[in-house]
């Protein structure tokens, strides 16, 4: 065992990369939930995005096209959820589960011929001198562009929800669809768009996994990241800025346990691999234990079916 092999600088730098997939997926789910919809299909949308992005990048040789296709793939499959829950008024929990089961199957099917292939490499920030500054260089200035894009997206969502009229409408719809409907806002349209945004973000998160983090395609490679993204939304009590904290925390745990595995700590590998899931549970419990505080931010209409009558 050699713990000194773990460098804190590299740890921070790699946790930023490691947390990007869940960061993307959870910021998307935050917007969906803020509109009052609970989409449990994040895992399915993420893995669909992972394979769509991977296949497109391999076929075209362009990671950029890969990311675009991942977002499109995630948004398209989320549209199925949107149509079922918003037009067919199906139960959101059941439909979200169906989305996850379907996405896992579909992606495995699409990904058959992509196992073991190396994708084209993505653009990495590499500023002469600046990227080589000790500590700050690796942490701030030498990441893959997805890391910066995800941070920008979090900032964008925060600004959108807080300062724009459309953001206000979205929050209003999630707070009370009946009131929003009575004021003449198109509840279903707002929610469908939010769901598709969430799908696109989850798709991007999947691609960040298959094109940057791993980078490779394997069946079921999201391994619960989508579910962790859902947990992060709860952890963040529906605040974008806290999504960042949550994602980095989980990314940190994941990276740390990998580093510990590599360093040959005497804890068996399996128990280290469990840790992100156990930490998720602990965090969920901690959050729910002081619910009074966080409940204020939970959208009041979350998960309820909206059907305008009379």
């Amino acid at each position: 065992m050699d713990l000194s092999a773990i460098s804190p600088t590299l740890l921070v730098a790699s946790l930023m990369v490691a947390s990007t997939p869940i960061l993307l997926a959870s910021i998307g789910e935050l917007v969906v939930e803020k509109s009052g919809v609970l989409n449990l299909g994040v895992e399915g949308m993420m893995i669909t995005g992972a394979i769509c992005g991977f296949a497109a990048a391999v076929l075209t040789g362009s990671p950029m096209i890969g990311f675009v296709c991942a977002a499109l793939g995630g948004a398209t499959i989320s549209l199925v959820f949107a149509v079922l829950t918003q037009y067919f008024l199906s139960n959101q929990v059941a439909t979200g589960l169906a989305l996850t089961l379907f996405g896992l199957g579909l992606s495995a099917m699409l990904g058959q011929s992509y196992v073991g292939i190396k994708p084209p490499t993505t653009y990495k920030l590499d500023l002469p001198l600046i990227s080589d500054v000790p500590i700050l260089g690796p942490i701030l200035f030498s990441h893959d562009f997805t890391v910066y894009a995800a941070l920008a997206l979090v900032l964008g969502v925060w600004w959108f929800l807080k300062y724009t009229r459309r953001g206000l409408i979205l929050r209003a719809v999630g707070e009370s669809h009946d009131a929003a409907h009575a004021l003449g806002y198109k509840v279903v349209r707002v929610r469908v768009l939010a769901i598709m945004f969430g799908g696109a973000c989850a798709g991007l998160g999947g691609a960040a996994l298959s094109l940057v983090r791993v980078p490779q395609w394997t069946e079921g490679m999201t391994a619960g990241s989508g579910w962790i993204a859902l947990a992060i939304v709860v952890f963040a009590s529906w605040k974008p800025e806290r999504i960042l904290l949550g994602a980095y925390l989980f990314g940190g745990v994941a990276v740390l346990q990998l580093n510990l595995q590599a360093a040959g700590v005497s804890i068996p590998v399996e128990y280290l691999s469990m840790s992100p899931y156990l930490i998720t549970i602990i965090v969920l419990v901690a959050m729910s234990a002081n619910r009074a505080k966080s409940a204020l931010n939970a959208p009041a209409a979350l998960g309820r079916v909206f059907h305008a009558s009379r």
Binding site: L40, V80, L84, Y87, F88, L89, S90, N91, V93, A94, T95, L97, A98, L99, L101, F102, G103, L104, G105, L106, S107, A108, M109, G111, Q112, V188, E219, A223, G224, W227, I228, L230, A231, V234, P268, E270, Y271, S273, M274, Y277, L278, T280, I281, L284, V285, M287, S288, A289, R291, H307, A308, S309
Partner: protein, 361 residues
């Protein structure tokens, strides 16, 4: 424009027709998917739905129907009670693994003692394992209000790691030449969940599945507990008013579904699978969610749905070898079935009408 209108009361006819319609729609949708993969859709559908029952080799596949259907039905019966009450146990896969580990662990510990008490003890331990694993989300939910969906699901991944650790470590076969995996329980007479009649596919899991179906039916239709479960699902506030203790109901729903999933895992590991190994769990715990919905959360419906889903597993395997259909295609196919079912469910509670001027949705 099409208009959706709530029915004054849910349609009974559509309640029965909806699953059938969903299966037909899935055959069409799945056929299109297979065609896109370059396979003959008609042949694929025939292989999946017809061949296992009526082809030349049906004598081999028919017992498989029971072997694959039993765990699905056992798990889905348990899940359906929770789903009715709005308690979402998504982690049956984990409870299935832990149940198997408890039962198999006991058998491996007492190996090679032969006794008639071994198998019954394994059954009890299997149920206990699943029950305890499900108590984690149950207690967290009742004590702290933690979301049971996420906790039960996270525990699946934890259980999978435990399974891996057991098959590579503690439970590894000392005479296994270093290969992962435990001793094969099929070769340990006292612990073997053997077929009751050779070649019938009927093992104790099938018997327990049938008992669970009947038990669940009687409970839902005639017993106070079943009434309270239905009431809680319909309207939690009305249930509270009727005197239902929500916490006790959560414990019951999660506990019983965990115990049934644990039983399913035990019967599988002591019978068809035989071995504690990394690839022991094949997703029955997740497919059972589809089975529960397809059976409309009704015990006898679940029995039929479980057999149908077992059919697609077997048919999928045949199609894999004869058509080269990817194994994942069946998983996508099953997911599609749940989508269609949720979509046609609309017809049970709503009427669709042509409207001239107004759009309500």
């Amino acid at each position: 424009m099409l208009r959706v209108e709530k029915r004054p009361s849910p349609s009974k006819t559509w309640g029965y027709l909806a699953p059938i319609l969903a299966v037909i729609a899935t055959m069409i949708g799945g056929g299109m998917m297979f065609a896109l993969l370059g396979k003959d859709p008609f042949e694929a559908i025939r292989i999946i739905f017809y061949d296992p029952l009526f082809s030349e080799f049906a004598w081999y596949y028919r017992p498989q129907l029971l072997i694959k259907g039993a765990p699905l039905i056992l798990i889905a019966i348990g899940l359906s009670m929770g789903f009715r009450a709005g308690v979402w146990n998504i982690g049956a896969e984990g409870q299935y693994i832990i149940g198997a580990l408890f039962g198999a662990g006991f058998a491996l510990a007492v190996y090679p003692t032969e006794s008639v008490f071994i198998f019954p003890s394994m059954i009890i331990l299997g149920a206990l394992g699943g029950f305890l694993w499900a108590m984690i989300p149950a207690i967290l939910k009742t004590k702290f209000g933690t979301n049971e969906i996420l906790v039960s699901l996270m525990l699946v991944y934890v259980a999978e790691q435990l399974l891996a650790s057991m098959s590579l470590g503690l439970m590894k076969n000392p005479e296994g030449f270093g290969f992962p995996g435990s001793r094969n329980l099929q070769q340990y007479a006292s612990a073997h969940n053997a077929e009751l009649w050779i070649g019938s596919g009927v093992h104790m899991g099938v018997v327990f599945g049938l008992i669970a179906v009947i038990f669940a039916y009687v409970m839902l239709a005639r017993h106070q507990l079943g009434f309270h479960i239905r009431l809680t699902g319909e309207s939690p506030k009305a249930a509270r008013f009727a005197g239902v203790n929500p916490n006790r109901l959560i414990i019951f729903c999660l506990g019983s579904s965990g115990a049934l999933a644990g039983l399913a895992g035990l019967f599988e590991i002591a019978g068809p699978s035989g071995q504690v190994n990394i690839d022991f769990n094949v997703g029955y715990g997740f497919t059972a969610i589809i089975v529960a919905f397809l059976g409309r959360l009704n015990p006898f419906g679940i029995m039929l749905a479980g057999l149908l889903m077992a059919l697609t597993y077997i048919g999928g395997e045949i199609a894999q070898s004869s058509l080269g259909l990817p194994s994942a295609a069946i998983q996508a196919f099953q997911g599609m079935l749940l989508f269609f079912l949720l979509a046609v469910d609309l017809l049970t509670n709503f009427k669709i009408k042509w409207a001239k001027t107004e759009i309500i949705v």
